[in-house]
Symmetry: C2
Subunit: 179 residues, 2 copies
Amino acid sequence: MSNSIQDLKQLLSEAEVWDKTMEFKRWDFIKKENSTDTNLYFVDEGCIRVYFTEEAHEHSLYFGYEGSLISALDSFLSGNPSSLCIQCINKTKVRVISKTTFKAFLRQNSVASNLWMEALSELSLWHLEREKDLLIQSPKERYERILKRQPLLLQKVPHKYIASYLRISPETLSRILNS
Amino acid sequence: MSNSIQDLKQLLSEAEVWDKTMEFKRWDFIKKENSTDTNLYFVDEGCIRVYFTEEAHEHSLYFGYEGSLISALDSFLSGNPSSLCIQCINKTKVRVISKTTFKAFLRQNSVASNLWMEALSELSLWHLEREKDLLIQSPKERYERILKRQPLLLQKVPHKYIASYLRISPETLSRILNS
């Protein structure tokens, strides 16, 4: 988790502006396909996968675990329904803040507003690196880039999802991990 | 170009804060590999490609043409050298603003600051859609998504780069265009 997100979480906790806490069982959906969800979720415990489906194929976009800030980014930003699914892949506990509460908080708090701007910059940077991950042809290099950038991901997320995230088969991932 | 970027450009022009105007010939580099470039470029004329190289292979990341705001996003945000190359694929004219000037302007102008926050949100959304483009398996669907989201791209950018952007061969692109 980046410093700006961590500091923002701290500010939100100090101001006690969380709308609620929610608990989910393994395989529960926080958001299903084609629904609208403009909440932000701070993960206190558990593991979350965000993906979309192309015909029968599920494409993993990003993951959340302890300390992550997760949303259905497109629905959060646009306010429209989106194809993204948010699913808990373990028992999960999150703190929830609605976009309305969040925006009101940012308007009142210029430090939080600057942290959010920083977080959005980091998010763009993160997406750019992810885009490079997807374009790079060597599976081993893709794996090494993730290991360097998101070392926790490999500890927190089951390998079959990591493989899908890296666009390789679970067998290829095992081979890389054992080499 | 999104409305927030357009409005921001308008504000920068009214305040006359551009650091300079630059002109480039076809194939000129605005930024070469492993250099640092924290400028923002507003394209007045021409066409720009941003890419990185993996061994001998060039991966196109994004393009700029009349009205676009372009930077080496990673170098701009981090202030560090980056692997991105910015190359003019036509005779190109840009207005340049340094990160220092830009940040000072945002600090003084809360309207501009809010527009920039909106632009960063749109950028994240754009990246998310691009990530989906890269994951989707059907070349025709990839093409149709781009056509819908960035119709100008197909008019402004030579087809060989569009093909590379779509991760298909120029022949496959011709087949899609003629079908």
